[in-house]
């Protein structure tokens, strides 16, 4: 390949890349991130939804999460994708499809995902989806699996008390 042509091609693509509008992307979740999330939500109830682009059950849950997000804006929702950082585009795309892209979102960003998992909950085996409901004092309840609207309502009543 002639170098000149290659260089101009690279330049063109570089410019195209720089001109692409920047989308909100998930933040990188590392070993201190869980504590960071707790600290930045001090004294307020919230829910943390852990999911994956490869988890079919999680994707069945997205429509309901989206409707809850829009019908119950008082419930702070944080999404954490248990995927590789390289899947961030795919994570973002799925959140966008479900009108969840504007909420706080994270993606696993360390190779040893078992350590990240343990930093969140030393009793959790990693099954997905996994949802944590935190009350104001950050007393939490962790639930595995897809939840119904009634399940969510019951948990919200508990954490908003």
């Amino acid at each position: 390949m002639p170098l000149k042509k290659l260089a101009s091609g690279l330049l063109f693509l570089l410019l195209a890349f720089l001109n692409t509008p920047v989308q909100a992307e998930p933040s990188a979740f590392t070993s201190g991130s869980y504590q960071q999330i707790l600290a930045s939500n001090a004294n307020q109830p919230f829910m943390l939804v852990i999911w994956s682009v490869n988890c079919s059950s999680c994707l069945k849950d997205m429509a309901l999460l989206s409707s809850i997000h829009h019908s119950r804006p008082e419930i702070k929702m944080i999404m954490l994708a248990a995927d590789e950082l390289s899947a961030a585009d795919q994570v973002q795309q799925i959140l966008e499809k479900n009108q969840l892209s504007e909420i706080e979102s994270w993606v696993y960003a360390e190779e040893n995902t078992q350590k990240l998992q343990f930093s969140i909950d030393p009793k959790w085996y990693g099954e997905l989806p996994r949802t944590y409901f935190f009350d104001k004092a950050h007393q939490r309840t962790g639930v595995s699996g897809v939840l119904s609207k009634e399940d969510y309502d019951a948990m919200f009543a508990k954490i908003l008390k």
Partner: protein
């Protein structure tokens, strides 16, 4: 494949966003530039060297999800997937050093591999080597097959195993040889899913003749297979396959069932064998294990059911109609996970891993009376890095655990 926009493994979702696409394209162009300038190329694969168990001799550093098996001549064979290529190598000194890797797919593929979606390797009595692995194909995930009839010097061009590979995903293949050396491959298949609300995948399988014609006939074994747990396989006295897998039972219960193929075209037999009552709509990503010897089935599995939680072992003396009381394995505070079981006559071996937040420990446990009583569990290795699942292997003399980890590389650890 049904076009459901939100399902993760359909093309519509896996397609890159505009920004991602441009970034990737840029990456590719840069890479091309580097190749053009340095004279480096795919030909690198022709100059692969032999090496130790740490994968430093691999073009892209090897991979975590490695499968190994002993061949009839005592050589230890491995299949090692990287991001775009899959390799086979062997060791003649029980895993201390390995031969130069032989490339299976000459064309770049997006290899799809995980703890549950594992590559497979088997060597029959004549020395034919069979391999399976999953990669993106016409569908987002497809099981590919390749074989070597010249002792691993060369491999056939990889082909999709499923006759519907262009229409439906196939993944989590389990490759196994029956006692007569017949190769079977079982896999998760999405061809029968017409509605994503309907529970689970199907199990399809094919046998491989080992002849030159690679015309696979896929047969269906079962429906309602839990989407994200791999299938375990053993063979009974009649050399018929016996599978153990997590199924979705009425009420969304994710417990385990046995599936046995029958001779003379009879319908496969299905038996629910675990009753933990794990009612959940989730992906446990935690498949079971099965072994057969002396007319007994031995099984090990993970559950978080309402009846019991953790890792368990049980055996059956009546072809799976009844099982012994589940025996809990491991330290419940340390997430005991990913069991494997091996049966050598009355000697039964179990292995699993435990994690304490910093390190993963590899555990083994042995019974000398067909699983009725067990010696105390022993921890035989550990790792502070990312680890693969452990697997029991035997070269007909000794029993080993085959275990791969990010820092320590591949280890073949003797059990006794």
């Amino acid at each position: 494949m049904i076009d459901l926009p939100n399902f993760p493994i359909t093309k519509s979702v896996s397609r890159a966003s505009e920004k991602g696409f441009v970034r990737r394209l840029l990456g590719h162009i840069l890479l091309l530039g580097v190749f053009a300038l340095s004279g480096c190329s795919q030909l690198n694969h022709d100059h692969l060297k032999a090496g130790t168990a740490d994968y430093s001799h691999y073009p892209a550093g090897g991979g975590l999800f490695v499968t190994a098996t002993f061949g009839p001549d005592g050589r230890l064979w491995r299949i090692v997937p990287e991001k775009h290529h899959v390799y086979v190598d062997y060791s003649t000194n029980l895993g201390k050093t390995f031969s130069a890797p032989v490339l299976i797919n000459t064309e770049n593929q997006h290899i799809k591999v995980s703890g549950e979606n594992r590559p497979g390797i088997a060597v029959d009595r004549s020395g034919r080597i069979y391999v399976t692995y999953a990669a993106e194909g016409a569908q987002p995930v497809t099981v590919y097959f390749s074989m070597s009839a010249d002792n691993g010097h060369s491999f056939s061009a990889p082909l999709p195993l499923s006759d519907k590979a262009s229409e439906a995903n196939s993944f989590q293949a389990r490759l196994a040889l029956n006692p007569a050396g017949q190769a079977y491959v079982f896999w998760h298949d999405e061809r029968n899913r017409t509605d994503w609300k309907q529970p689970g995948n199907s199990i399809y399988y094919t046998t491989i003749s080992g002849q030159s014609s690679l015309n696979f006939v896929a047969q269906k074994l079962s429906d309602t297979l839990c989407d994200c747990c791999r299938i375990a396989a053993a063979f009974d006295n009649a050399a018929q396959p016996v599978l153990l897998a997590r199924f979705i039972y009425p009420g969304g219960i994710r417990d385990h069932g046995l599936i046995k193929t029958q001779t003379e075209g009879k319908k496969p037999m299905e038996l629910r064998v675990t009753f933990d009552q794990w009612a959940i709509e989730a992906c446990p990503d935690h498949g079971p294990a099965i072994a057969f010897s002396d007319d007994k089935y031995h099984i090990a599995w993970f559950t978080q059911g309402s009846v019991r939680q953790g890792l368990f072992y049980a055996y059956s003396t009546d072809q799976g109609q009844h099982f012994s009381n589940p025996l809990a394995l491991g330290n419940p505070g340390k997430l005991p996970s990913h069991p494997d079981v091996m049966a050598k006559g009355k000697r039964i071996f179990l292995t699993w891993t435990e994690f304490d937040g910093t390190k993963t420990q590899l555990w083994v446990m042995q019974s000398n009376d067909g699983g009725q009583t067990w010696q105390p569990a022993k921890s035989i290795a550990e790792s502070t890095a990312e680890v693969d699942f452990p697997f029991l292997l035997s070269n007909n003399k000794d029993v080993f655990v085959s275990w791969n980890s990010k820092n320590e590389g591949y280890r073949l650890i003797p059990v006794n």
